[in-house]
Each structure stands twice: as C-alpha cells, then as structure tokens.
C-alpha cells in the first residue's frame, strides 16, 4: 500500500471510529426532524393563545369590522370615556385600538393609534391597517357616489394557472422549492466545510501537541501527510453524506409511494371522505414530488459532489495550514475569521441575489469566484445554469485549489515544527520563503 493510502486509511478510520462521528451521523437527522416537529409544535402552541384587544372607536363605524378570530378577540369599549377605556385596556387587555373622531378621512387615516406595552407583530399591524383602509376607501367611494356593494361584486381575484409547453401542470411554489433545495445544498456545503475543515485543523493540532509529528514526517513528506489528512477526513464526510442521502432517498421514495399508491386504498372508517381528503392532499403533494423529481437532479448531485470536493479541499488546506501554525485551538481564532467570512458571504449573497435573480450579474460573479462558487453555484443550479458557466467555475475552483494547496503546504511544512510561539501573519508570510 502506498504511503498516501496508508495515511488516508488511518485518518479515515480514526475519524469514523470516533464516537462523536457515529453519534452525529445517526443523531443529526433525528435532531433535524425533532427540531422541525418542535418548531411546529411551538408555533401551534403560540397560536392557541387568544389575544384580547380593546377598541375605543369614537366614530362608531370601524368596530364592527374588527372580527374575532382564533388568535384575537375584540372588545368594544367605546361606551367608556377614552381615559377610562385606556385604564381598563392597560389592566386587562393586550392593547387598545383608538380611533378618534375626525371628519376628514385622509386625516383620520393617520390619526388611528394602537396603544400597547408589547410591540405588536407586523402581521397584526397590517391586519388593523387593512380594516381601516378598507372602511375608509368604502367611505370615500360612497362620498363620491359609487355603490360600494356593486364595487365589491365587481372586484375580481385572479388565479393564474401555470403550465409548461409540454402541457404539464406547474406549481406556483416551484421557485420557492428551487431556492429551498439550492440553499439547502449551499448550506450543507458551508456547514461541511466548516465542520470538516475544523476536523482537519484539530487533527493537525493534535499531532502537533502529541509531538508525534516529528516522527511521522521523518518517514513521510509533510505534503503527503497534509493531503492524506484532508482526503481521509473528506472520505469520512462523504460516508456521512452517503448515509444521509440513502436515508433521504428512502424517505422520499417512501413518501412518494405512500401518496401515489396508498392514497387509493380504502380505509375502514368512512372511506369516501378520507379518500377524498387524501386524494386532494395526495394530489398536491404528488405534484410537488413530481416537480422535485423533475429538477435537474443528476446535474445537481454531480455538481454537488464536484463542488463539495473542490470547496472542501480549498478550505481544508487552509484549515490545515492554520492548524500547523498554532499550538492550540484557542490560538486559531484570529486566523479563522478570514476563512469563515467568504463562506458566510457566499451563503448570504447567494441567498438574497439568487432569490432575486438567479442569473443576475452579482449571482453570476459570485458563482465564479472560487471561494464562494461552491455555495452560490449550487443555489443557482436548480434554476438551470448554462454548462459553460459551470465548467468555467469548476476550472477556476480547481485551479485556485492547487494554488492554495501549494501555499498551505508551505506554511504547514514549517508550522508543524514550530512550538511555543503564536505566529503573526507576517511570520507566516516569511515561512513561505523558507
């Protein structure tokens, strides 16, 4: 077995055998599912609480428009004088909507107040504004001599039907799905670079503090050791991915077949109603699943693997260099910031610009820059990216990768034998010339 293969094997086994790796591999999917259930549960629990809102309406025309709902109940305190209403509201209500008596509708529109010690949610403010707007508009129309009932009935709400040239029906939420999938892959890459980059760094520091490093590099070249470490750790990462992917695909196929095949199967109690409900729900979910299967999944997964490897190698060689330069993890912080910055930039720039315009200049440029391309390009791929752009971006990524590995291995080579001092950027630059 070659030396590099030996090192890779050792690093891989050391990583995979680690208890935290095993726990993370099997626990994190559970954790994610558990978290989403928890979030759903918490959101529901919040919804169960009813907000009590008092209204002091001096005009008397608005209060009937505030309709009680599941979340809020409105109580009319217009009968009390304003001061008394305010006192009552401050004691036993969440807030008070105060509508003064102002003749001019334009002026009235700016005079309405919501008095509460808690700041209301955006949603609630918009709800209140909608009620006021609607009423005032109606009043205006009436004043101008329009029949509000007729206007109401003349209003149309459209529902545009989406389809493809092939005749297939499309879903409206598709862009959201694409963004969701793209961002999920982008986030995954970022998380993996940070987590596995840290593993590489820690493993380098471990060898340094164990003082085994000098024994190892009296047998192998530092470059071999560094590459072995990076590759060994990445294989462990890919294994983890593979496990998750298999679990994910099994789940996806399972859910697809449940709604596709099982929906028609009769259930014992009131079969027709359940069937109808299931078919309706099943129909929508089926369409979504269909769209997911229709995404360029092949390209997406291929690119994911290529960008994962490229991005990971690029960053983890930097992590290795930092690990070699410092004596302990606490010393590494100042050097880590410049590494994490472009990753964060990739995620946020990617998320906002890709959502805005997947093929805009900013998104395109960031999907070319090697330090952000693994994240941004993956976010763009669900929207369809020309092949030449993908190829160019990959070439740039791997070109930079070789440059960075060269640079990192120089620092690594010197750094692993330096003990007891915290290096500066300037010193690390000097090491390049040793």
């Amino acid at each position: 077995m070659g030396i590099l293969a030996l090192i890779i094997k050792r690093e891989f086994i050391a990583k995979v055998r680690n208890k935290s790796f095993i726990v993370m591999t099997f626990l994190s999917p559970l954790l994610i599912v558990g978290m989403s259930f928890l979030i759903g549960y918490l959101a529901n629990m919040n919804a169960g609480e009813v907000k009590k809102i008092a209204i002091h309406d001096e005009t008397g025309t608005f209060k009937k428009d505030f309709k009680n709902s599941k979340e809020t109940t409105y109580t009319d305190l217009s009968a009390l004088p304003f001061k008394a209403a305010k006192d009552t509201a401050s004691k036993s209500y969440e807030g008070l909507i105060y509508i003064p008596k102002v003749a001019n509708p334009k002026e009235l529109a700016t005079k309405v107040e919501y008095i509460s010690d808690d700041s209301p949610s955006m949603e609630f403010i918009m709800e209140m504004e909608d009620v006021i707007n609607h009423q005032l508009t109606q009043n205006n129309l009436k004043a101008l001599g329009f029949d509000s009932v007729k206007i109401d009935s003349a209003q149309v709400k459209s529902d545009i039907h989406l389809s493809k040239f092939s005749g297939e029906n499309s879903l409206k939420g598709l862009n959201e799905i694409k963004i969701g999938i793209g961002s999920a892959f982008g986030y995954l890459i970022m998380m993996f670079i940070i987590i596995y980059g840290n593993f590489v760094m820690r493993s380098v520091i471990e060898e340094k503090t164990n003082r085994i490093i000098e024994i190892i590099i009296s047998s192998v070249k530092p470059y071999q050791l560094m590459m072995g470490k990076i590759i060994g750790n990445s294989l462990a990462g890919i294994l983890q991915f593979a496990i998750w992917a298999i679990v994910g695909v099994v789940l996806l196929v399972g859910v697809s077949s449940f709604f596709g095949v099982q929906a028609g199967a009769a259930s014992s109690v009131d079969p027709e109603m359940i069937n109808a409900a299931k078919q309706e729900l099943g129909g929508t979910i089926q369409m979504y699943l269909h769209e997911i299967w229709n995404l360029p999944i092949g390209t997406l997964i291929t690119c994911f693997i290529i960008y994962f490897i490229g991005g990971y190698f690029l960053y983890s060689s930097l992590y290795a260099a930092i690990g070699a330069a410092v004596d302990s993890e606490t010393d590494s912080q100042q050097f880590l910031l410049p590494i994490i910055m472009p990753l964060m930039l990739g995620v946020y720039v990617g998320f906002f610009t890709v959502m805005d315009d997947p093929h805009g200049t900013v998104a395109t440029v960031f999907s070319m820059i090697p330090f952000t391309s693994p994240i941004v390009m993956l976010m763009r791929i669900p929207f369809g990216v020309p092949l030449w752009q993908i190829v160019l971006s990959i070439v740039l990524l791997f070109g930079t990768f070789f440059g960075v590995v060269w640079f990192a291995s120089k620092i690594y080579r010197v750094g692993i034998l330096m003990y007891g001092k915290k290096p500066t950027w300037k010193e690390m630059y000097k090491w390049l010339k040793y």
């Binding site: 030396i3 085994i212 000098e214 024994i215 190892i216 009296s218 047998s219 070249k221 034998l417 040793y434």
Partner: protein, 307 residues
C-alpha cells in the same frame, strides 16, 4: 573504515539566522557517535536535515556512500527529543502504522513487533490505548517504533529523558546490543556521563559551528593537561614540598579518600610520571597516584566558554 553518514559543508538558514554554518561530520560505520552541544547550537537542525525533515540550504549529506534521497528514510530510525504517539490509537495498530510508513510490509511489521513486545514483556499492551499507559511505558513503545524496521542508523535525541533508571538501563542495553549487531548510533545529549560510557566518537557543535570531532580517546588525549592527582602521607612535608616545587607546579586539591593525607595536583611540565613518583616515594607513603584525565564535561565547558 567507511562511514555510515557523511555530512559535507551543510548550511541551514532560517531567514537571517544561520542555524548551521558549513558543518561537516563523518560518522564511522558501527560506531556510537555523540553529538554534543549546548541548547540552540544547531544539533536539532542537523538531525532534521539528516532525517530529510528539512532540506539544507547548502552542502550534501551521504548515507552509506549514497547521496541522501527519500528512500533512505527506511534505513534511519529517529527518536526525537520531543516525542509522542497518537493518544487515542491502540498500541499495536499504531506501531503497525508507523512501521508501514517506514516501508515495512504489514506481515514483517507484525512479526518484528511480536519479537519486541515479547522481549519487553508487554504483549498485553497490544490493544491498549497510549493514553492508558504511563509515560515510561509509552517511551518503551516509542523505542520499539524507532528500532522496529532494523535501521542502519539510529538517531536518538536525548534518549534517556523521561525514563526511570531501570528503564533507562534497559534501553541502554538494547542500544548497545543493536550496536554490536552492526547498527550505527548517533546520540544527541546533554548527559555527559552516558557519552563517556557509550560513545566511541564525539562531535561538539556550538553556535552553528562544529568545534571538535573525533574519537573519544583522541579528543581526550588532545585535551590532556599532563597533570596528576597525588595523595601522600609524609612525615617531612616541608622537604617534600621543596623537592616538588623545584621541578613541578603544585596545587592543593581534594578528592575522596580514607586517609588524612596531603592531596596535590601536580603539573608534570614534560617530565615523566616516574620522576614524580620517585620524589614522592622518597618522602613518604603514596596513597593515590592518578593521571588527571579531562572529562567530556570539562572539555565541553572549556570549549564552549572559550568561544
């Protein structure tokens, strides 16, 4: 005699700092060679170059007549001063891994390991992790790892630090045994008594330069002062002193003895020892008569403080 290692005019610089200034050495085949020098003299830099951990900026190194190249790592066994092992890896696996990195096959490594583990009576450690062993125990494993691949040249940097006297002795005996089988050994150490005891050759490096190199005996000869330590029980001290000062330079000295005698250090100044002995025997009972041989420690301190 051919040399296992030849270092020719090796230069190593770190930035503006010169760690080795054109150093040349010759380690004879089958010798135990002491590489001495104060901290920061450049010993570790030289050793790292021999191990190809760093490259020299100038000069050449030859191992067994061949110019040093990557495949030579399997002929060198190196135990650095700062040593360690993977703490969470099992002893057996770790030894196998390190042996394979040195180019041994899995089967050979296993066979050799079995031999050493039996020799040191540590078979039960195979599945233990290093962190479960004491420091001394880990050092034993470290030694095995160093010699496992039967290197032609052993380089040991402060080999006895961290060993208790019993284990230090065990390791010392192993080194001597390996040396008898033909392994050449380079010792880098501050412990002069082990140099006196074990080394045939020494070199002294100080401030990036080699100051002394040669056979231990030759080095001592060249530093001999021709002085003798003398103990004498005399009834006529005045007469004795008079006779001695006519020919020699005297100095009061002290050494351990059972008698309450007169203790002198006598500088012969080119006379034969017998002339001194004659004067002594005429004037009293001689209890002690020894040539003052410079210790390596004296030579070391003398040479280093001169420069």
């Amino acid at each position: 005699m051919s040399s296992i290692l030849e270092v020719r005019n090796v230069v190593k610089q770190y930035g503006d700092y010169t760690a080795l200034n054109s150093v040349s050495l010759e380690v004879p085949q089958g010798s135990i060679y002491g590489l001495l020098g104060p901290n920061g003299a450049g010993k570790t830099s030289l050793i790292r170059i021999i191990n190809q951990i760093t490259m020299p900026d100038g000069g050449e190194v030859f191992l067994d007549g061949e110019k040093l190249s990557p495949h030579h790592v399997q002929h060198i066994g190196y135990m650095p001063e700062e040593r360690g092992l993977y703490k969470t890896m099992k002893v057996g696996e770790q030894c196998l891994y390190l042996a394979q990195l040195k180019g041994m096959s899995h089967a050979d490594a296993k066979k050799q390991l079995k031999y050493w583990f039996e020799k040191f009576e540590i078979e039960t450690w195979w599945d233990k992790k290093i962190q479960e062993l004491s420091k001394g125990m880990a050092q034993k494993v470290q030694f095995i790892v160093t010699v496992l691949h039967e290197p032609k040249l052993l380089i040991l940097d402060e080999p006895f630090s961290g060993f208790d006297p019993v284990n230090a002795n065990l390791i010392k005996d192993e080194i001597i045994e390996l040396n008898k089988k033909g392994t050449s050994v380079i010792f880098s150490t501050h412990r002069m008594e082990s140099v006196e005891e074990m080394c045939d050759y020494i070199a002294l490096i100080h401030k990036s330069n080699k100051l002394i190199e040669g056979k231990l005996i030759d080095v001592k000869k060249s530093h001999r002062t021709n002085a003798y330590e003398v103990g004498i029980l005399s009834n006529n001290v005045e007469r004795l002193m008079y006779d001695l000062t006519q020919k020699f330079q005297l100095q009061q000295t002290d050494f351990k003895s059972l008698n309450d005698e007169l203790k002198l250090e006598v500088q012969l100044n080119g006379s034969a020892p017998n002339e001194l002995l004659n004067i002594l025997t005429q004037n009293g009972q001689v209890t002690h008569f020894v040539e003052k041989i410079p210790s390596i420690n004296d030579i070391f301190i003398q040479t280093v403080s001169q420069k």
